[in-house]
C-alpha cells in the first residue's frame, strides 16, 4: 500500500517537472514551453547566405582578375514543397552578376526506391563537381576540371534520376542518370548545342565501402556525352568525357571534431566520338588533414592535358585552414602552375575567407 502511494506521488512529480531543479532563470531565454518568436513564418524556406572573399598575390595573372575580390555571395532557399518533394534554390551573385546556380525540385521517394530531380543542377560528374565553388577547400578549381568542365564546373538543366542498387553485401551503390541541356559553349571547353534538341547525357555510379568504423572508401565512375564544339569536330561530332574518382576518409568517431583525414583522387579522360580520335587525360589528387579542432592543412597535385592546347599543364597547391567557428573558414594557400608550352612557372598566394549566415546546414560528406 505504502509502495503504491509512493509510486503515485512519484508519478505526480513526474508530470510536474517544472517544480524540480535548481537552475536560475536566464533572461535571454523564452519562458518554458514556448517556441522561438520571430517575424518570419515558420513555414518559410531555410534561407542562408555564404560569402566568399578572396585576395591574391603573385605573377599568375590568370589566377584572379583583381587583387581583392568578393568572389561570390551564394544565397540558398530550401524547403519541402509537400510531403513528397523538396525544392532547393542556389543563387550566385558575383562580379559577373546574379545567376541561378541550381534550382530544382526533388522527388524524394519514387516507387521502386528511386529519386528524381527536375530543374537546373550541378551535374553528378565525378565527386568534386557537385561541390559549390565557395565550399571547396581551395581558392581555385583543379586544372583538369577547368580544362574539361570549365571554370565553374559542369551544370545542366533537365532531369536527373537515381536508384540505390541492391547487392548481396548491403552496400550503398547508386546509379544516377542525367538528361539535360548542353551547357553553353562559352562556359565549357568541349560541348556545344547546335539545335534545341541536342542533349547532354550523363551517368554516374558510386559505391561506398565502410571499411571500419573510422575509415571508409567511396569509388565512383561517371560518363558524359554531348555534341562537340565546332573546333573539336575533327575528333567526332560528339565529345565524350569519363571520370573515375576515389575518396578515402578517416575520422575517429570518439574525437570526431578534432582529427580527420580525407584523400581524394579524380582522373578524367576525354575523347571525340570518331574512330581513332585523340584521347586526352587529366587528374588531380589532394589530401586534407585536420590537425586540431579548428585547424586543417592540405595539399593538391594537378596534371592535365587540354583540349584547347597541345601541351599539358601541371601544378601544386598547399593550404592552411583555420575555422574560428563552424560558420567561418579562413585559409592561406600557395599555388605553383607549370605551363609546359611556355616552360615557365606561375606562382600565386591566396587568402580565402568564406562565412555563412542562416540556419545550420547539413555537413557535406
Amino acid at each position: 500500500m505504502l509502495r503504491s502511494i509512493a509510486t503515485a506521488l512519484v508519478v505526480a512529480a513526474l508530470t510536474a517537472p517544472a517544480a524540480r531543479g535548481a537552475s536560475s532563470p536566464d533572461p535571454t531565454l523564452a519562458p518554458p514551453g514556448t517556441t522561438p518568436s520571430s517575424g518570419s513564418s515558420l513555414t518559410n524556406p531555410a534561407i542562408s547566405v555564404i560569402g566568399w572573399f578572396q585576395a591574391v598575390a603573385g605573377n599568375d595573372s590568370s589566377a584572379q582578375q583583381n587583387q581583392f575580390e568578393f568572389k561570390e555571395a551564394e544565397l540558398s532557399f530550401q524547403a519541402a514543397v509537400d510531403p513528397f518533394t523538396r525544392a532547393d534554390f542556389f543563387l550566385s551573385a558575383g562580379p559577373e552578376g546574379l545567376e541561378v546556380e541550381e534550382a530544382h525540385i526533388t522527388w524524394l521517394a519514387l516507387p521502386g526506391g528511386g529519386q528524381a530531380q527536375l530543374g537546373k543542377f550541378r551535374a553528378d560528374f565525378g565527386k568534386f563537381n557537385r561541390t559549390h565553388p565557395p565550399e571547396t577547400p581551395f581558392a581555385d578549381r583543379p586544372l583538369s576540371t577547368v580544362a574539361f568542365l570549365g571554370e565553374e564546373g559542369l551544370s545542366t538543366t533537365g532531369l536527373a534520376a537515381s536508384l540505390l542498387l541492391p547487392n548481396p553485401f548491403g552496400l550503398y551503390w547508386d546509379l544516377i542518370a542525367n538528361l539535360g541541356t548542353v551547357p553553353d559553349a562559352a562556359e565549357n571547353p568541349l560541348f556545344e548545342a547546335t539545335t534545341r534538341s541536342d542533349a547532354l547525357i550523363l551517368g554516374r555510379s558510386s559505391l561506398f565501402f565502410p571499411l571500419r568504423e573510422s575509415v571508409d572508401l567511396n569509388l565512383g565512375a561517371s560518363y558524359a556525352n554531348a555534341p562537340a564544339q565546332s573546333a573539336l569536330q575533327s575528333q567526332g561530332s560528339h565529345a565524350q568525357l569519363g571520370v573515375v574518382d576515389a575518396t578515402l576518409r578517416w575520422k575517429n568517431p570518439r574525437r570526431s571534431i578534432y582529427r580527420s583525414l580525407m584523400v581524394q583522387v579524380e582522373i578524367t579522360g576525354e575523347q571525340g566520338s570518331a574512330r581513332g580520335a585523340q584521347r586526352l587525360l587529366g587528374g588531380f589528387g589532394y589530401v586534407i588533414y585536420q590537425a586540431a579542432r579548428h585547424w586543417k592543412i592540405g595539399a593538391r597535385y594537378d596534371w592535365t592535358e587540354r583540349p584547347d592546347a597541345p601541351e599539358h599543364s601541371s601544378g601544386a597547391l598547399a593550404l592552411v585552414q583555420y575555422q574560428p567557428s563552424e560558420f567561418s573558414t579562413l585559409s592561406l594557400q600557395g599555388r605553383r602552375v607549370h605551363d609546359a608550352a611556355a616552360d615557365r612557372d606561375f606562382d600565386s598566394a591566396f587568402f580565402k575567407w568564406t562565412f555563412n549566415i542562416g540556419p545550420h546546414g547539413a555537413h557535406p560528406y
Partner: protein, 332 residues
C-alpha cells in the same frame, strides 16, 4: 525543309532517349522492388520484426524497452560519439531505406546530418510528417528555448536545449513518443506497446527517487558545478545542482584565454565542487583548469553504449552517479 526534318529527327531522338531512360529506371525500380528491400506493406509488418532506426543509443535503448521482441533496433550515432557531429555516411541511407520507424532526438540536435540521410534514404515511410517519423522531444518539457537566436551566441539550438534525455524523468516522455510511433506503424500491436510502455514508466518512476537519493547521498545535490558544454542542464535539474559557468560558454566557439582566467578565478573563489565534461571532448583544457583550481574533474558518458556496462537507460544514470561519487570522494 531538310534542316527542319533533321531538327524533328533530333527532337524525336532526344525524346526516345528520355523514354529509354525512364524505362531503364522503371526496370531498375522493378529490380529493386523484387528484392527483400521492397516497401513494407502492413500485412508484412505484422509478420516480421519492425525495423526501428534511432539517431542515438539512448533512444534505441528505450525503443527496445517498448518494442520488445517485436522490434529490431539500430542506432546511427554510437554512445561515445558527439551527436552534434555524426558523418552522414551513405551506408546509413541503406539502413534507413529499410526502416519502418525513425526516431530522432529533435530540437535540431541532428540538423547537421539526419535531414541529409532521410532525404537520401528513398523511404517515404519515415520522412518528417509520415507515420514512421518520431520526434522524441514531442512529449518532453524543453529547457532553454532562446528568446532570440543569433550566431553571436555560438552554435545555439534555436528550438531549445536538446540534451533532455539526461533527466530520467524525460525518459517517460521519450517512451510515450516511441510507443505512439510504433502503434502507428503496427496498430495490431498497439496494446502490447502500451503495456510495455506502462511497465517502463513504472520502473522509471521507481528508479527516479532512488537516483535522487543517491545524488543527495554522494553530495552532488545542492552543489555548484561548472560544465564544459551546455549538455547538463537537464541532468542538473534532475539531481538538483547548480551550473554556475561553462568552460565553453558559447557552443562551438573555443573559450578565450580571458574566459579561462576568469573561470579559474571563479572556481577558486566560488565554492565550485565539481567540473563535469562530456566524454567526447578533448580533456586537456578541463584537466588544466582542474589542476589549477583543485576542483575535481569528472568525465561522464552522455549516452547508453558509451562504455561497457551501460546497456540500458537505467544503467546510464547509475554509471554517471557512480563516477561523480568517485570524483567527489577522491577530492576529499
Amino acid at each position: 525543309m531538310k534542316s527542319n526534318s533533321r531538327e524533328w529527327a533530333r527532337t524525336a531522338a532526344t525524346l526516345l532517349r528520355a523514354v529509354a531512360l525512364g524505362i531503364a529506371l522503371a526496370l531498375g525500380g522493378t529490380v529493386v522492388t523484387s528484392t527483400k528491400q521492397e516497401l513494407i506493406r502492413p500485412a508484412q509488418a505484422e509478420t516480421r520484426a519492425l525495423r526501428v532506426v534511432t539517431t542515438t543509443e539512448d533512444l534505441a535503448a528505450i525503443a527496445r524497452e517498448i518494442g520488445g521482441s517485436r522490434v529490431t533496433v539500430e542506432s546511427i550515432c554510437r554512445g561515445y560519439q558527439d551527436p552534434h557531429f555524426v558523418d552522414a555516411k551513405p551506408s546509413f541511407m541503406v539502413t534507413l531505406k529499410r526502416a519502418d520507424l525513425f526516431v530522432e532526438v529533435g530540437r535540431d540536435l541532428e540538423v547537421g546530418w539526419a535531414p541529409g540521410l532521410l532525404n537520401g534514404a528513398r523511404n517515404p515511410r519515415i520522412l518528417p510528417g509520415a507515420a514512421g517519423f518520431v520526434d522524441a522531444s514531442a512529449q518532453v518539457e524543453i529547457l532553454e528555448i532562446p528568446a532570440s537566436v543569433s550566431r553571436a551566441h555560438g552554435d545555439v539550438h534555436p528550438f531549445g536545449n536538446p540534451h533532455y534525455w539526461l533527466d530520467p524523468v524525460n525518459g517517460a516522455g521519450i517512451a510515450r513518443a516511441i510507443r505512439d510511433g510504433l502503434a502507428r506503424v503496427a496498430p495490431a500491436d498497439a496494446a502490447l506497446f502500451r503495456e510495455r510502455c506502462a511497465d517502463f514508466e513504472k520502473r522509471l518512476a521507481e528508479a527516479v527517487p532512488r537516483l535522487e537519493a543517491r545524488a543527495r547521498e554522494i553530495g552532488i545535490t545542492g552543489a555548484r558545478v561548472v560544465t564544459y558544454h551546455r549538455s547538463w542542464s537537464y541532468f542538473a535539474r534532475a539531481f538538483g545542482f547548480e551550473v554556475v559557468n561553462f568552460v565553453e560558454p558559447r557552443p562551438g566557439i573555443p573559450p578565450s584565454p580571458n574566459h579561462v582566467a576568469d573561470l579559474t578565478t571563479q572556481m577558486k573563489q566560488g565554492r565550485v565542487k565539481l567540473l563535469i565534461m562530456e566524454d567526447f571532448f578533448d580533456p586537456r583544457l578541463p584537466q588544466k583548469i582542474a589542476r589549477d583550481t583543485g576542483v575535481p574533474l569528472v568525465i561522464l558518458p552522455t549516452s547508453v553504449g558509451a562504455e561497457d556496462g551501460i546497456r540500458s537507460y537505467f544503467d546510464l544514470f547509475d554509471h554517471q552517479l557512480t563516477r561523480i561519487a568517485q570524483a567527489l570522494k577522491g577530492a576529499k
